[in-house]
């Protein structure tokens, strides 16, 4: 599956036709506790990670929020 992940083209190593955000985080080893996730410019809340799907061609953002200010 090919998506736009954080503004870059990304080929995901999967045979599935759609993936959930939870599956993406697992696949990419994004385990950071503070994340902002957006699919096609729409915020996805944490409780929706395992029921929000994306497909080939979608734009997905996973932004790590880290301390300091």
């Amino acid at each position: 599956m090919k998506i736009i992940l954080n503004n870059k083209e990304e080929i995901l190593n999967t045979n599935l036709e759609k993936l959930t955000i939870a599956q993406l985080l697992e696949l990419k080893k994004f385990s950071f506790p503070r994340l902002i996730v957006r699919v096609n410019d729409r915020l996805i809340k944490k409780e929706e990670y395992d029921k929000t799907y994306f497909v080939d061609g979608d734009k997905v953002d996973v932004i790590h929020m880290i301390s300091g200010g």
């Binding site: 503004n7 994340l35 915020l43 932004i63 880290i66 300091g68 200010g69």
Partner: protein, 195 residues
């Protein structure tokens, strides 16, 4: 564009500053110098001596609430700016109430969970609003790692890498760079890219 024209456009704009520490105080001062019409400041903290390594405060302001001292410092630079200041800890409800009329919101919190909270709040309640966040500024050096990344109307400024901790503290140069880059993004949003 001549500075008079820049000032006249900016004088009609309203920018929210969420957090008045290293990022917020320096970003607000930069915006004040170029003549933003109105700033909405919020912070709950008081100034400590350890803040003076990066924050836009002075030694004789130690012990005072940051929002009041920042207002005082900004008005010494540019007395024509309107300032609304709130000495409170921001949560979802206050962010919606205080910043609903802002053209741009600047996220200038310290803690990652607060950064996450404001992004979620703004994107939920005001999905069309511009939000500029500072993410990754600890330590020194690495000028070339500091960048701006755009995600729709969400702008992330910083190295997105270096978290502050006891062994990697925030210091004036890097914090100032990120804060001023955030102010620069605000100008790009408000004035457009075309010079």
């Amino acid at each position: 564009m001549k500075f008079e024209k820049i000032k006249s456009i900016l004088s009609t704009k309203n920018v929210g500053i969420a957090g008045c520490g290293g990022l917020g105080s320096n970003c607000a001062v930069a915006l004040a110098r170029v003549g933003i019409g109105k700033l909405v400041l919020a912070d709950f903290d008081i100034i400590e001596e350890s803040n003076l390594n990066r924050q836009y405060f002075f030694y004789d302001q130690i012990g005072k609430p940051k929002v009041f001292s920042l207002k005082e410092n900004i008005l010494r630079i540019n007395p024509s700016i309107k300032i609304e200041e709130y000495n409170i800890k921001l949560s979802e409800k206050e962010i919606v109430d205080l910043y609903k009329n802002c053209d741009v919101i600047v996220e200038a919190f310290d803690k990652a969970e607060m950064k996450e909270m404001i992004v979620e709040t703004v994107q939920t309640f005001f999905p069309e609003k511009y939000l500029v966040c500072g993410v990754g500024l600890a330590g020194w050096g690495g000028n070339d790692l500091i960048r701006t990344e755009r995600f729709g109307n969400l702008f992330i400024v910083g190295d997105q890498l270096n978290e502050t901790n006891e062994d990697d503290p925030p210091l004036a140069p890097r914090v100032g760079i990120v804060a001023n880059m955030m102010a620069n993004v605000v100008l790009e949003i408000l004035l457009g890219k075309d010079k």
